[in-house]
Symmetry: C2
Subunit: 240 residues, 2 copies
DNA sequence: CTTGTGGGATTGTTCAACAATAGCCTAACC
DNA sequence: GGTTAGGCTATTGTTGAACAATCCCACAAG
């Protein structure tokens, strides 16, 4: 039935490479890592709001894992800054203050600015991803799907960083966005949060397409300043 | 004997703030965290060279901690990219390849460039730290203490990033340097690694003092390009 | 209103156990 | 000869229970 061929030699296509990429998607992850991912998702979607105490006993029972495994998962979440660990008190979903948000946006300026400066050396498919993200956001806005507008916005800015072609910068950005979601949760509506910035993203890609890098940088910096200020204002409102 | 005053109200000086800063220095760390720090140090100094397998039983016995605690420490080291975890095989001290080094230096360009651009808004004591690090490196070179030249060099570049005033960028840089030490271990001599760059650091601070930011950026980029190429060349030599 | 003082719950850490897996060795086989 | 199959051993993955240390809270005393 099956042909007796040597897979490693005959693959003119990149079958092996693609298989290897799938490896980590399936089973290949330990329990602790999967628990960390579940908690990451639940925190991001607001099911575990900032300030929530993550009881080892309760969570362990709910997820069906032992306390030791759970504690391993906590370690990675602490390193991701999604939870804080207070000695002999437990771990809590992180609560961001305006200083945190300000610093996060300072890092975004550094990361996204680096991507922007690398646009002239970036491969065309990365530029295309930029345009696709903006178009996706506009289409979602047309439909009134403001949650999708938000993810498209973040996809755009992640694609901006990806222009630099650095795996580590990409990971910084991914983690930064996960952290930023903690602040988004404090915002009243997804529409008010993302709609004002649709136009800015369009402006940036258009300026880039026209070769006006300095203009794009100015718009990007204004975007980040305004977004930061908007979130900080909402946080001060909410806290008082 | 003691005056009966309310500490919280009467502190014209910032006694409370300084006390709070001391809190984390004292005992306030769990076993796992301390174990992670010990392993970090041993890896940085080369006592646990890249590729070394970190046996849970052997390390646990040596450090006098249980396997569970050790595994918690491993998680943070994995997140710091100092070790790699292979499922059902164990954790190994990370081995960097030239691609890793290239990416690390790409991130350094982004981080240190960000600091450099922020020099005009940085407080004077941060500028002073810059000059102090360069002077310290030159003094150590005078004495032939090449290890100290190396730490002064890293102190200078960390101070460069600190100009941006961002805690997160500072932490990125700290972790990046810890990772970079894995590559330094492959270099034959500390002198060959650091001596050529003493002059560049001096150039950078002098150009900055003169207000020539673009010139400083050029020298910095050349520094990073050359250092990266030097290390990659040594790695290719060593690997073959 | 502040200062002890229990009691109860939770975390910090260890230990022992078992299942699952990787690595190695041997033997059989074409 | 080289390759494949099977089995053994050491190590990791994960769990459960145990105990000490610590924090929180309620309550009493000054």
């Amino acid at each position: 039935m099956t042909q007796d061929v040597d897979l490693a030699r005959t693959s003119g296509d990149d079958t092996l490479g693609r298989l290897a990429a799938d490896r980590d998607l399936l089973g290949r992850a330990g329990t602790a890592q999967r628990v960390a991912e579940v908690l990451r998702d639940r925190i991001a979607e607001g099911a575990l709001p900032p300030g929530t105490r993550l009881s080892e006993q309760a969570l362990g029972a709910a997820l069906g894992v032992s306390r030791n495994t759970l504690r391993e998962a906590f370690r990675t979440l602490v390193d991701n800054r999604l939870v804080v660990h207070e000695m002999n008190r437990g771990v809590f979903v992180r609560m961001l203050d305006p200083d945190d948000v300000t610093d996060i946006y300072a890092v975004r300026r550094a990361l996204e600015g680096t991507g922007l400066r690398a646009v002239c050396t970036a491969p065309p498919e990365r530029i295309a991803a930029l345009h696709a993200a903006v178009a996706g956001g506009e289409a979602a806005a047309e439909l009134g799907d403001w949650a999708e507008v938000g993810t498209a916005d973040l996809r755009f800015h992640r694609a901006l960083v990806a222009l630099a072609g650095s795996p580590r910068l990409d990971e910084y950005m991914t983690r930064l966005i996960a952290e930023l979601r903690l602040a988004f949760l404090a915002m009243p509506s997804a529409r008010a949060l993302h709609e004002p910035f649709l136009r800015r993203n369009r402006e940036i890609v258009d300026l880039l397409a026209g070769g006006d890098f300095d203009g794009a940088t100015v718009v990007l910096d204004r975007y980040l300043d305004d977004a930061c200020e908007m979130i900080c204002a909402a946080m001060r409102m909410d806290g008082a």
